[in-house]
């Protein structure tokens, strides 16, 4: 009786985890690009930045596949709309990483005033590390969501999930602070900076902070999935 094979539909959670994996890889590749930027290896930086673009495309493809398979015919333990919105947010993490990569490709920052160079670079690197952390935590959160369902919404697993969500919110807050600090530095020195350079630096910071914003949005959606 083939009914068993049809009655149980394919769960969207394994593909969601796969998507999160690719998103994490996208952000990690961006960090490598920024490290190359930091060292002044612009050729390597451009190569990594282009790879970020490819990975983002790949994530998009997985997203489309999940969307197509998540028809309203499925009866699931979590709300279908919540899953779809979560997926959208998770995908936007990769989009944000791609945006940073795009700015990296626009120009080389070799004309930053010497006295600012160190501060600017250390702040950007810090933000990049934090955004990786955010993407990693989102990956952990969706893996944990799978466990929450596996345990039949066990309290212990839900608690652990809330801890991860809180961590993501913490990271987002930290990046926001770094972003503000970065903006202050740029504007304080605006008279000495060429406008193009200012815009370039500000946008790298902004897009990096967007990564954690999207991570936070994704975490919010996971919270909603648990309170059906």
């Amino acid at each position: 009786m083939q009914v068993w094979t049809k009655l149980f539909a394919k769960s969207p959670f394994k593909p969601l985890i796969k998507h999160a994996e690719v998103v994490l890889e996208t952000v990690e590749t961006l960090e490598r690009a920024l490290e190359a930027w930091d060292k002044g290896e612009y050729e390597a930086m451009r190569e990594y930045a282009r790879k970020v673009d490819d990975l983002e495309d790949f994530a998009d493809k997985i997203k489309e596949e999940i969307r197509d398979s998540l028809s309203s015919k499925l009866f699931m333990p979590v709300n279908r709309g919540d899953i779809l919105r979560y997926l959208q947010m998770q995908d936007k993490i990769a989009d944000a990483a791609e945006n940073t990569a795009k700015w990296l490709l626009v120009r080389d920052p070799n004309d930053t005033p010497e006295d600012l160079k160190e501060e600017v670079r250390s702040l950007i690197m810090k933000m990049s590390q934090e955004s990786i952390k955010a993407a990693k935590l989102v990956y952990e959160a969706i893996v944990q969501m799978d466990r929450v369902i596996e345990s039949g919404f066990g309290e212990k697993e839900i608690e652990r999930e809330y801890e991860i969500i809180k961590e993501i919110e913490g990271v987002e807050h930290k990046i926001d602070e770094l972003d503000t600090k970065f903006m202050e530095i740029i504007f304080k020195n605006s008279s000495r900076l060429e406008w193009g350079l200012g815009m370039y630096l500000l946008n790298i910071a902004k897009t990096l902070s967007n990564i954690s914003d999207r991570a936070k949005d994704a975490a919010e959606r996971i919270r909603l999935m648990m309170n059906k």
């Binding site: 009914v3 068993w4 015919k73 699931m76 345990s151 697993e157």
Partner: protein, 408 residues
């Protein structure tokens, strides 16, 4: 027996009866093993062998040796005076039911074999004597079972999966809790299985005897054995995997039981009409109840076993490859709930279909947020197939019967 086969009508009936038995094996029997195969407890090949042997054993050793000529008294046999009607009617009913089962198997719809044969009998009965021959009270019970079976199945499965996850999966240390609670659940499952063995396989009547003599003995035995085994050799690192591993073993036993009782019970759907024709051929009369010779039971059992081996194999292979969403605890909860519902229902005298109860139980586990995804469209198709089983089988049987009456 040789001279009996020279009677062309008896020969035809036996052939159609074998076809029906084969269709039962193809549609239903794979059923008993599919949760175990789906959850990866046994391979499809093992499942086919276990199911084939147990279905045959159930049918041959425990099939009812006396059967009603018209299943469950759905039509009034005393209104049929012409023995030829029994012969043609039985062939028509068997043919209609097996064709419908074949169609349902093709589309993967789990329909009740009992309801198929009931439809066939009602069909020829109505063509012969009009609506008055049908026992509408019994018919209402059949209709009620379409609604009751899945609802009870769903409610019990919902409660069972919740309790299993509360006691095991949601505990601080699932492995420790599994060691403590799994024997309790296994014991409970065997209380049900032991009792069911008496009622379904040995065809006992009293639930009290069933539970006190068979159920409790099996339950306590299973509890002690599983308790000891879990204490002695149980290693697991991942808590969920560990808990699942325990239920994996139990599932093989519950499935084996389902196959045995299915053989014991459902063989009647194929051999009942054959026995009726046999009675006409040997004694020349049409009675309400007739004895079923052993060789007819063996034939039915063989037919079911062949159905499992030929068609069931394909089904179980797909099941093994495709169902990844059914864990052992979920599979156990479905099996346990379905068995409990059928046991309690047979005690209360409620008309319950095992097939329908199992589907209900799957939905119940889904409602308890225990399964990651269930296909709603398939559920709809299944429910529709239940409602059309009796009418479709009745119409086909009616047409075949009419033709046989004209040419016969």
């Amino acid at each position: 027996m040789i001279e009996l086969l020279s009677d062309p009508w008896l020969f035809i009936t036996i052939a159609v009866g074998l076809f029906m038995a084969w269709a039962i094996g193809a549609n239903d029997a794979a059923n008993s093993m599919s949760t175990a195969v789906g959850a990866g407890a046994i391979t499809p090949k093992q499942a086919v062998i276990i199911a084939g042997v147990l279905e045959f054993t159930g049918a041959y050793l425990f099939g009812k040796s006396v059967t009603e000529t018209v299943r469950k008294g759905i039509i009034d046999a005393s209104q049929i005076s012409d023995p030829n009607v029994i012969v043609y009617g039985s062939i028509a009913a068997l043919l209609a039911a097996s064709l419908w089962l074949l169609f349902a198997s093709k589309f993967g719809l789990p329909v009740s074999t009992t309801h198929s044969i009931i439809g066939g009998i009602v069909g020829y009965g109505m063509v012969y004597a009009g609506t008055s021959i049908v026992n509408w009270g019994k018919m209402a019970q059949v209709v009620a079972s379409w609604i009751l079976s899945p609802i009870f199945g769903a409610i019990v499965a919902f409660v069972v999966i919740k309790l299993v996850s509360k006691t095991i999966l949601q505990q601080k240390d699932p492995i420790e809790s599994a060691k403590k609670w799994a024997p309790v659940w296994i014991g409970l499952a065997f209380v049900v299985i032991g009792s069911m063995f008496y009622i379904k396989v040995m065809h006992g009547k009293s639930l009290f005897i069933a539970v006190s003599r068979y159920g409790l003995a099996a339950g306590i035995g299973a509890f002690l054995v599983s308790f000891a085994l879990l204490r002695r050799n149980f290693k697991a690192t991942d808590p969920y995997w560990g808990a699942e591993a325990i239920f994996r073993k139990v599932q093989v036993l519950t499935s084996a039981y389902v196959a045995l009782s299915h053989g014991a019970n459902d063989v009647a759907n194929a051999v009942g009409p054959v026995a009726a024709v046999y009675a006409v051929a040997t004694m020349g009369l049409a009675g309400m109840k007739v004895p079923v010779p052993r060789w007819i039971l063996a034939m039915g059992g063989l037919g079911i076993a062949i159905g499992v081996a030929t068609y069931g194999y394909k089904v179980m292979e797909t099941v093994g490859r495709k169902i990844t969403e059914l864990t052992n605890t979920r599979g156990f909860s479905i099996d346990f709930s379905a068995a409990t519902v059928v046991l309690v229902a047979s005690w209360l005298g409620l008309p319950i279909s095992t097939t329908h109860t199992v589907v209900g139980a799957v939905i119940g586990v889904g409602l308890a947020r225990g399964v990651k995804a269930i296909n709603k469209d398939i559920v709809k198709d299944i429910v529709i197939s239940w409602f059309v089983t009796v009418p479709v089988a009745a119409i086909i049987a009616g047409i075949v019967f009419k033709i046989l009456m004209i040419v016969g």
